[in-house]
């Protein structure tokens, strides 16, 4: 059984959780979005600065709280995104991130793992004015004040 814990909470996950890469904010970011995991109330904000070409991701940071899976996945995502183009990242397959995380995930925990990526994609699509793909649209749903 402790084998099962080790599988899910392997060293690298716990390391990213305890020492998240890219944690922080960017003043006047070029792209930015907030995401919620409605299942647990976790919130993440992501900030992106583009290089001079207006396309390459020069810097990307996140703030917010979450479980080890979501924090570690977002931390890994930060490392994976720097230096790539906005289009590349906005269309990144979720499998790419999942391979990096490399732990067995149930559907609910998949939502945790995807919170950062989904939010980053929303930020990039909004900055580029490209339409949000199906399934992301929910994140800027109707508001009521």
């Amino acid at each position: 059984m402790s084998g099962a814990f080790d599988q899910m909470y392997r060293e690298v996950i716990l390391d990213h959780y305890k020492n998240p890469r890219g944690h922080g904010t960017i003043e006047d970011p070029d792209a930015e979005a907030d995401g919620q995991n409605p299942l647990c109330g976790d919130e993440v904000s992501i900030y992106v600065a583009f290089a001079d070409d207006g396309e390459t991701i020069a810097e990307v940071k996140f703030s917010g709280r979450g479980c080890a899976i979501s924090q570690a996945a977002t931390s890994m995502l930060m490392e994976m995104s720097v230096g790539r183009t906005a289009t590349e990242v906005a269309t990144m397959e979720k499998e790419e991130l999942l391979e990096e995380i490399a732990i067995p995930l149930t559907p609910v925990r998949l939502k945790c793992a995807m919170l950062g990526l989904t939010t980053l994609k929303v930020a990039l699509h909004k900055a580029k004015g490209t339409p949000l793909p199906e399934g992301l649209a929910g994140f800027d749903e109707l508001e009521l004040t």
Binding site: Q36, P38, L39, T106, V108, A137, G138, E143
Partner: protein, 417 residues
């Protein structure tokens, strides 16, 4: 047995299928049960009941939010049922499939959520004289509330909506909603919706299809129908009570306000600001009818294993047989179209004998039919009656039950002779 020729190799065997339905194991008033009221609600196959029991006994917990294994299993059960329902109506995406209590709630959701925010003075909602109250009263109520007009297409001699009225309607109104059934629960008519759908879309109106009576009996395809919303009820198609579904186009659902509010349908809640959740959750407030959804999924499995084409053919055959046999009874009036154009529903009246009395005396002979207005008072009004008798059939109906009905009617006549 009528003149419908069907390849026997591909016909369904209703006598054999009856064994799946525990209800037929009892006698009523010393006679086998002739259950001829499936249009009101169908009986349940063991396979469906077992699927629900298995869910409760091995996989039950509240769905979606739980991290533990039982909750994951329960969520999977619910979402698998959503996928089965999606495939059943050929919807593009499970995001568009919303689980509700029944078709009535589905139609109310559209009337409230779309209607309260899109209808106003000068606008019109168009329904037909053949609608079930559930696709009539919500529109009547919301139209009135919004100051919009509520228009009813009357039916012609053959019982079909009279489309010659459309031109005038389009001239005088901004038509925003056209809502009709696909199969009439009173006359059994299978409608050709193409002209109405095309007309609705020419008017930029939404087309709402009440498929509560169609879903049990024929293959549905929301993309081929080209409708905007479609409503079904599980209990009429071998599923449990307490479950129905609304399908709607994602763009429409996305742009609509939610209907019921509360747990699960939000993405965040604060006193000063609340954000809705993603589809389909935005329209599913509170704890879902989980086991009922699982039952609906199992019912769909059951129907598809038999084949909806075979079920439809079986019903045409029974309708033809029933129309023939009932036609022999003196003093009978039969309502509705020819057998090829109808699902397994036959409405009739016996001269001078009220349907309640007909049904009562039939019951004493083990024959269960419905007597009443079938939630179609506008149609009854048109037919000039308060009520009709209605015998309706399903995959487990056998010709012997129709014989039992016909014999029973002779006994009714004798009482009132």
């Amino acid at each position: 047995m009528g003149n419908v020729v069907v390849n026997t190799a591909t016909k369904l065997d209703a006598h054999a299928l009856r064994a799946d339905f525990p209800i037929f194991e009892q006698e009523f008033h010393g006679k086998p049960l002739a259950f001829l009221d499936s249009a009101a609600s169908s009986q349940k196959p063991r396979q469906m009941l077992e699927a629900m029991n298995r869910f409760y006994e091995t996989s039950y917990a509240n769905v979606h939010r739980g991290v533990y294994e039982l909750a994951e299993r329960a969520t999977e059960g619910l979402e698998h049922a959503r996928e089965r329902t999606r495939a059943f109506i050929n919807a593009p995406s499970t995001r568009e499939v919303i689980f509700l209590r029944n078709a009535t709630e589905a139609l109310n959701l559209v009337a409230y959520s779309w209607g309260l925010n899109n209808l106003g003075p000068g606008d019109a909602v168009v329904v037909t004289e053949l609608e079930h109250h559930s696709n009539f009263v919500p529109w009547q109520y919301i139209a009135k509330r919004q100051g919009a007009d509520f228009l009813m297409l009357s039916i012609d001699e053959s019982g079909d909506p009279d489309l010659s009225q459309l031109e005038e309607i389009a001239r005088d109104h901004t038509v925003k909603v056209v809502a009709t059934n696909l199969v009439s629960n009173s006359l059994g008519t299978i409608h050709d919706l193409v002209p109405l759908v095309e007309w609705a879309h020419e008017q930029n109106a939404i087309f709402v299809c009440d498929a509560a009576q169609a879903a049990p009996h024929m293959k549905l395809d929301v993309q081929a129908l080209d409708c905007d919303f479609l409503a079904i009820s599980g209990h009429k198609m071998c599923g449990p009570s307490g479950i129905g579904a609304l399908w709607g186009r994602a763009e429409l659902l996305q742009s609509m306000e939610p209907f019921l509010l509360g747990g699960h349908m939000i993405s965040s809640v604060r006193a000063d600001k609340t954000m809705w959740g993603e589809l389909p959750h935005k329209f599913e407030a509170g704890t879902a009818p989980m086991a009922e959804a699982v039952g609906l999924g199992a019912a769909i499995d059951y129907l598809e294993a038999i084949g909806l084409d075979k079920i439809e053919a079986h019903e045409h055959e029974l309708a033809a047989y029933a129309l023939g046999r009932l036609g022999e009874v003196p003093g009978i009036t039969l309502y509705g179209p020819s057998a090829e154009r109808r699902a397994g529903v036959v409405s009739f009246n016996l001269e001078g004998i009220h349907p309640h009395d007909v049904a009562q005396i039939l019951d004493l002979q083990g024959v269960a039919i419905r007597a009443g207005h079938h939630c179609c008072q506008p149609l009854m009004h048109k037919l000039g009656v308060a009520a009709t008798n209605r015998a309706s059939f399903y995959l487990y109906t056998i010709p012997e039950e129709i014989d039992q009905l016909v014999e029973g009617l002779y006994a009714v006549r004798k009482v009132f002779a």
